[in-house]
Amino acid sequence: MIEFDRVSLSLGQFALKDVSLTINEGDYYFIVGPSGAGKTVMLEAIAGLHQPGQGRVLLRGEDITATPPEKRRIGLVYQDYSLFPHMTVSDNIAFGLRLQGAKADAVRREVDALLRQFGIEHLAERHPLTLSGGEQQRVALARSIAVKPDILLLDEPLSALDPVTREKFMQDLARLHRERHLTVVQVSHERSEARRLGTRMAVIIDGRLVAEDRVATVLNAPKRPDVARFVGIENVLEGCVVENAGGLAVVDVAGLRFEAVTGAAPGERVSLCIRGQDVGIALSENPASSSRNALSGTVAGLVGNGPLVDVRVDCGVAINALLTERSVEELGIRPGSGVVVLIKASAIHVIAGDAGGPD
């Protein structure tokens, strides 16, 4: 539906570099990346607010690179809501409809319907600065879909909301996507949002597209170590394949031997990606286990992580394990405890070589 064909653009010190991606009709597409990576600029480029220095932007195959934003039918909701403070809620929602030349009766009907749909009828005559963050967010969303855009762009819409409002708003977004068959592009730095709502996603780091695929693929089987770190894989270890017997490779990581399932050949450099929840911890020196990797180490620290505890173990290399609080209590794990780290060979995702291009 919308396609970036080798788009580059500069904005002061910042630059998007040679970005190519395709967003299909009906996608709930996530653009994620660290702060300052260029996510919002990319969203604004889709909206037509920045002209690429190089490359093309295509909408349904038609080159819209030079098309101004008002002619693209692409809605935009910013993180700061960006409601017009001099207009009431009703006038904010009616803004685009009036510009389209809709008659006053039609505008009123549409605005009333949207106010009802988003449960904000009681706010109709209020000014935006008197509303809470959640209320402003709803108004901003209602305003953007009032003009029936082909694509809805959301710039970190959930980041400023409290957990309860956030959950409700996520449900609203999912419903909107489902019922209106909208193509949604959402910028976020929260992987959980992408996992929950997204169909496809792109990862932007330092102005470059470093990964683009289905959400599950990018999050569970990244093809670059920097993407693996960004998507929250707790352990990304660089090493070299020492031997490979029928797909079970031995990888040397700073003198430690790991066994992992991979087709990488001996001598090849690889990155081992191990999720914290795939790491087990035992107290005994010889625990009976099917895990191919058992590494002795010392607990270096424990950090609470919601209902889980992030246990950092120094085995020569630092390994992070995510355990439940109960497990930590029952095992009596505390800083300085001697433990054995257990990792199944099949739980290690291996990235071969120095992958540099997008997935």
Binding site: E44, L49, P68, S82, P85, H86, G96, H127, P128, V147
Partner: protein, 288 residues
């Protein structure tokens, strides 16, 4: 005005009328008030001086204040100032917007410095610049006088001199106003179907209206107070500052003082009303 009331107006979060008397006096604020009172005090003394003298002879004051020469001059001054401000709104507003939205560059710095020139020049120099450009043989004055628009000793000359000296006040205030309007609001308006011009009219300008109003008041005040720049190109018709100077040099201190006092009263009343109105301009939060 009572001290407590003044402090309440100046520092609402810190002092209420009742709270101020109850709480220990903030010595820092008190010190600032004492220092600031030197400025206010000098102005009040000067006003009291002239007021006491003038009010001692109200008949003469009334005669001068209601003379057609003085009334006409005040109206002319205020009208020319208003005219200059309207021209500034027309030409200065787009310039201020471009400056507010453009990235920092040497060209931008150069334009900003050119705009500020009237601020740093002696007023006679400003007047001379205007005169040389708009006199009958000037680069602009010559072609415009050919189409019947004369500036020397004419109303347009007064307006253009006022416009020149007042322009930085309006443009700089307006630029600050535009800078305070988040670009995101304009971006959203564009995605909702507004062209750049529609966005400017419906979003940016209304949100900058308070700055437009304040900039206009500042520029108007500066314009009607101008003397040196105006007399260089338009000694006639008399604006109030020229009339007071003329009266001082021909009739002496008595009449010129009465004209000055009349101008003070009228200007003070007008500015008081205009300042009062700023409370209601450009407020969008219905909680306050």
């Amino acid at each position: 005005m009572k001290m407590a009331t003044l402090l309440k107006d100046l520092f609402p979060p810190y002092a209420s009328l009742s709270g101020w008397s109850r709480r220990r006096t903030d010595r820092c604020i008190l010190g600032f008030c004492l220092l600031g009172s030197v400025i206010v005090g000098i102005t009040v003394l000067a006003l009291a001086n002239i007021a006491i003298t003038e009010l001692a002879d109200p008949v003469h004051l009334f005669e001068v204040a209601t003379s057609s020469e003085v009334v006409g001059s005040i109206l002319l001054t205020f009208g020319a100032g208003l005219n200059a401000v309207l021209l500034l709104i027309l030409f200065g507003t787009p310039l201020a917007y471009v400056l507010a939205r453009s990235q920092p560059s040497r060209k931008k710095e150069m334009v900003e410095s050119i705009i500020d020139i009237p601020l740093i020049l002696p007023h006679t120099v400003a007047g001379l610049l205007v005169y040389l450009l708009f006199m009958r043989r000037g680069w602009l004055g010559a072609p415009l006088s050919d189409v019947g628009l004369a500036f020397e000793d004419a109303y347009p000359g007064t307006v253009v001199a006022m416009l020149f000296v007042a322009s930085p006040f309006y443009i700089n205030t307006m630029r600050e106003g535009f800078e305070k309007v988040p670009v995101h609001l304009e971006n959203v308006a564009r995605t909702l179907g507004a062209t750049r011009l529609q966005t400017f009219w419906k979003v940016t300008l209304p949100l900058s209206f308070r700055h437009m109003y304040n900039g206009s008041i500042l520029a108007w005040g500066r314009a009607i107070g101008e003397f040196a720049a105006v007399i260089m190109i338009a000694y006639y018709p008399f604006i109030v500052s020229t009339l007071i100077y003329y009266s001082f040099t021909t009739d002496g201190i008595r009449t010129s003082r009465s004209i000055a006092f009349t101008v003070i009263i009228v200007s003070f009343a007008v500015f008081l009303v205009l300042r009062r109105l700023t409370r209601y301009v450009g407020r969008y939060d219905d909680r306050v």
